[in-house]
């Protein structure tokens, strides 16, 4: 089994973020940390892992690096104590460049973290300001450098494209620099306009102009080309890695394996049921204090729905999906193949890079054309 730990707190909110995160006081964060441990213990008493320990832990947020390196190490200890931890388990923590000193990296790694994911986003200071990130490009470079020398097995950097007033050149040179520094993994995300965010209001007002669809597509395809030429594997729509450095925890999501999420708003898939925790931190704290699990929204996934999930998740990855899972006639897939959006070979269907860019439409087509 795999464990996701959600840390919902940030130093400040970014202009594009609609995630479950908030700015909080030290005492609230301390109480939350204790409650996480309590939740893990409760789950450990309820589920049997069949003699195996956790195969991966992923600490995400929010900004988990609001905790110190020691605190992260303590959290890993608690998880290990509750569920057991495989010897070769992958343990990831997400880090905001403006948070950790070199000592935090060292403490975290010696405490069991072996995969560090740095939220670089951009190496263009103007772009970082427009996104209201708390760090600048220099801090980002420093954080990556600290991560690379911390002894962690894998270092990832997140970078965004399709930024307001961001050029293709600036984006590509950022990727190039990260690759040059020696990061093993890159996550490349398009800036997505979420409703209700400050950025969305700015775009509506016309204060901020986002690049057009064609421009965004070009940036992505250039990134794919460049990273592949540098020896990165494009193993999921937004993810690239040097051989042997893919994120096993995330791959589990796309392969529909089970996982338990702890912390406010964390999602789980266990025993064929999808459920999540209460989003409100205060409600989460109160329920666990009262000895209850803060679970809600449980939904058993029916067989047909599970097949649809297999397709929509599997198609995100380079491995694709077996043709027989998709079903239907070859003819319909051929149309998409002829458009250069997917390939069919060895009994598997895979999206091309261009297909990944329009994967929402392609998946809807595959799933519902005959509906």
């Amino acid at each position: 089994m795999r464990l996701y730990i959600h840390w919902p707190f940030c130093r400040s909110r970014c202009s594009y973020c609609d995630f479950n995160s908030r700015v909080a006081t030290q005492s609230l964060m301390a109480a939350y940390g204790e409650t996480l441990v309590k939740e893990m213990k409760t789950w450990a008493s309820l589920i049997r892992l069949g003699g195996q320990g956790l195969r991966s832990i992923y600490i995400g947020g929010g900004t988990p690096s609001c905790m110190s390196g020691e605190e992260v190490a303590a959290l890993i200890d608690a998880a290990s104590l509750a569920f057991g931890l495989d010897a070769d388990a992958e343990v990831t923590v997400e880090i905001n460049p403006a948070t950790w000193e070199a000592g935090d990296f060292r403490h975290a790694v010696s405490g069991g973290v072996n995969r560090l994911s740095i939220g670089v986003q951009s190496l263009d200071d103007g772009a970082l300001r427009r996104l209201s990130r708390t760090h600048d490009a220099l801090e980002a470079r420093r954080a990556v450098a600290s991560a690379l020398t911390s002894g962690a097995r894998t270092v990832n950097a997140d970078l965004m494209y399709a930024l307001p007033a961001g050029s293709e050149d600036a984006f590509l040179s950022g990727l190039e620099e990260m690759s040059g520094m020696g990061v093993h993994h890159l996550s490349v995300y398009a800036l997505t306009l979420e409703s209700g965010t400050p950025l969305q209001r700015l775009v509506e007002q016309g204060t901020v102009v986002l690049p057009r669809e064609e421009e965004a597509a070009r940036q992505y395809l250039s990134a794919v080309e460049m990273l592949e030429s540098k020896g990165f594997e494009h193993y999921e729509i937004s993810n690239f890695c040097k051989p042997g450095h893919c994120c096993r925890h995330n791959l589990a999501y796309w392969r529909r394996e089970e996982y338990l999420g702890v912390g406010a708003g964390a999602h789980s898939l266990l025993g064929g049921v999808r459920f999540r925790n209460q989003r409100s931190v205060l409600l989460y704290l109160r329920l666990l204090k009262a000895g209850e699990l803060p679970v809600c929204g449980a939904e058993a996934v029916a067989e047909e729905e599970a097949r649809e999930e297999m397709i929509m998740l599997g198609m995100r990855t380079a491995r694709g999906v077996p043709e027989r899972t998709i079903g239907g006639t070859r003819e319909e897939l051929r149309d998409l193949e002829n458009c250069g959006l997917l390939t069919i070979s060895g009994g598997r269907v895979r999206l091309t890079a261009r297909g990944m860019l329009v994967s929402n439409a392609v998946m809807a087509d595959i799933l519902y054309r005959r509906g």
Partner: protein, 604 residues
């Protein structure tokens, strides 16, 4: 009643010139309707008519009137429809009368339709009583209007009566004039029955109510009758007259006007213009002038929600019960699904039908842009009539396409003459001649393709003359035209709803407008989609809907799965509303807005 004391007359007037108000005064003066019970404009019964200020269904009201000579007369006021779409119905109403009041608004002057109907009345041998109305209005020019009418009819202006239907001034004198000037009906009660059906209406309990003018003979309750044009037989369940409500009586004699009910439920079996005769002693010849109602304008009517097809079908069936001129056949459009190709007398008729379907039956409709009927002669000399542009045969097999023309009369103040002549030219009109009416108005006569009239010609006429021009027209048959069929192809597949017949020289402009419109309305697909306008295999306009380039959920981790599933669910719902044209998914809304905005620039 003694035939010499019967007067059958109608009122010819333009919309808003006060016909209904005048009729109201008559009903009051004769005590047919007591003043306090008078609903305004009693004769216009349908809600829609009242709102649009037009009369669709002619009616007849019997009034008792003691004239200035002290004698009691029976006056039958026959109401006539006021729009050129219904000119056949007008002619049948006129045929039921011996006289007509020609009513003209003193502030508006003579309008083209009034002229048309006045000539129609003169040709039918009716005695005309010219009247100027609204003399109470400060802006009225009673003298000038009287001069215009005198010019028109070639009479002495002194013969023109002056009234205000609103205040009642002069109306009693007018009724006396009807008694004096309109001849009593001829025809004998002992002759074989010949009665003219000049209109009909439908009562959901009793079936068709036929309005008749008995010309010769007598029709009575229980009598076996036949309709000479349709060959339908029936027995008379009820005979009566309107005063103004239905009043049953034992029979109607030569010269009288009233209604008969036979229990026939199907309005197509009792046609306006048909002659009723007795089964036992039938007349040798029907009354002259019967014509099958001939739809001239066609359009596809489709439900927005394809589930409402059955409702639309039922609604049309019901409308047809009291609208014999409406025709419809089922058709299937690739773009719009199942619907009907409907035939109308004209554009107003079409609008009325559409409005009644929407209002009375609560339907949400898409109506394709209207087209006329084309006469097509192929190389072997065979002639067919094409009512739907997508039925037009391959141009290679066609020798000639002919289109319906109208003879149009336009009345317009001289100042606006230039603009109107230009409009006529733009609309492929053929100028004939013009004449001045009392120096204030020019009467312009021309021929126009009906196809040009069914699309906003009237609106243009009004806007280019600041509302002063008026129009009348009559059909004059088919003339050859340089016409082609234009098809719209989306990704190589023709979309029937957008096929049109256009004049060759305009194919490009039209094609360009439609293709641009569709490019804006059709969402981007996963591949480039060409939108082409094609005439006889040749592309006259082309646009490309570029393929979608980016539509991706960047992050999809543990917590994003539910969100992604919701997104897919939404796409699934969206796909249900899509129409497939070949491999292209098009939301029906796109077709609807393309059709609603019309291929035509309204250019108002």
């Amino acid at each position: 009643m003694d035939r010499s004391r019967i007067r059958n007359f109608c009122i010819i007037a333009h919309i808003d010139h006060g016909k209904s108000t005048l009729a109201d005064r008559f009903l009051e003066i004769t005590d047919t309707v007591p003043r306090q019970k008078m609903a305004e404009q009693y004769l216009d019964r349908m809600e829609l008519e009242r709102e649009r200020g037009i009369t669709i269904k002619a009616q007849a009201v019997r009034m008792q009137y003691r004239a200035g000579d002290g004698v009691e007369y029976r006056l039958n006021l026959i109401d006539t429809p006021g729009h050129v779409d219904f000119s056949y119905e007008v002619s049948r109403s006129l045929a039921a009368c011996e006289g007509a009041i020609l009513l003209v608004d003193a502030s508006q002057g003579v309008e083209a339709q009034t002229v048309g109907n006045a000539y129609l009345a003169v040709e039918s041998g009716l005695e005309i009583i010219p009247v100027v109305n609204k003399i109470d209005l400060p802006a009225s020019d009673a003298e000038g209007t009287a001069m215009e009418i005198a010019d028109l009819l070639g009479i002495d202006p002194a013969e023109v009566l002056m009234v205000s239907a609103k205040t009642g001034e002069g109306t009693e004198k007018l009724l006396d004039a009807v008694v004096e000037r309109v001849p009593a009906p001829s025809g004998e009660a002992w002759m074989p029955l010949r009665a003219l059906v000049f209109d009909s209406t439908y009562d959901s309990y009793r079936g068709v109510v036929a309005f008749v003018r008995v010309v010769e003979g007598t029709v009575s309750r229980g009598m076996k009758i036949g309709f000479m044009a349709t060959g339908v037989s029936a027995s008379v369940d009820e005979v009566g007259f309107f005063s103004p409500d239905m009043i049953s009586c034992p029979g109607l004699e030569a010269g009288e006007v009233g209604y008969i009910i036979t229990g026939i439920k199907d309005v197509t079996r009792i046609r306006v213009g048909d002659t009723v005769t007795g089964r036992e002693a039938p007349a040798a010849e029907p009354l002259p002038g019967y014509r099958d109602p001939k739809p001239m304008v066609f359009a596809g009517i489709y439900p927005v929600d394809s589930d409402a097809f059955t409702d639309l079908n039922d609604a049309l069936e019901k409308l047809k019960l009291n609208d014999a001129a409406l025709s419809f056949v089922r058709e299937n459009s690739k773009a719009l699904g199942f619907g009907f190709r409907c035939g109308f007398l004209g554009l107003l008729h079409m609008e009325i039908v559409q409005e009644r379907l929407e209002r009375e039956y609560g339907l949400d409709l898409v109506v394709t842009s209207p087209n006329v009927v084309y006469e097509v002669e192929d190389r072997e000399g065979r002639i067919t009539h094409v009512r739907n542009p997508s039925d037009m045969p391959d141009m290679g097999t066609i020798k000639e396409i002919r289109e319906p023309y109208v003879r149009a009369t336009i009345l317009v103040p001289p100042d606006y003459m230039g603009g109107i002549l230009e409009l006529v030219k733009e609309r492929r009109g053929i100028y004939q001649d013009m004449a001045y009416l009392s120096g204030r108005r020019v009467e312009l006569r021309c021929r126009l393709p009906l196809a040009e009239m069914v699309i906003d010609f009237y609106d243009q006429l009004k806007s280019r003359s600041r509302g002063y021009a008026s129009l009348d027209y009559e059909h004059m048959g088919f003339l050859p035209g340089n016409l082609v069929r234009l098809d719209i192809l989306i990704n190589g597949e023709p979309v029937d709803a957008f096929s049109v017949i256009v004049e060759r020289s305009r194919a490009h402009d039209y094609g360009k407008r439609i293709t641009q419109r569709l490019r804006e309305l059709i969402p981007r697909q996963l591949f480039d989609v060409p939108v082409q306008a094609v005439v006889g295999g040749r592309v006259v306009a082309r646009e490309t809907i570029k393929a979608r380039r980016k539509d991706v959920l960047a992050k999809c981790y543990g917590g994003d799965v539910t969100r992604k599933k919701k997104l897919l669910q939404k796409q699934k719902e969206g796909k249900k509303r899509m129409k497939m044209v070949g491999k292209v998914e098009i939301p029906q809304e796109a077709f609807i807005s393309a059709l609603r905005s019309g291929g035509e620039d309204k250019g108002k």
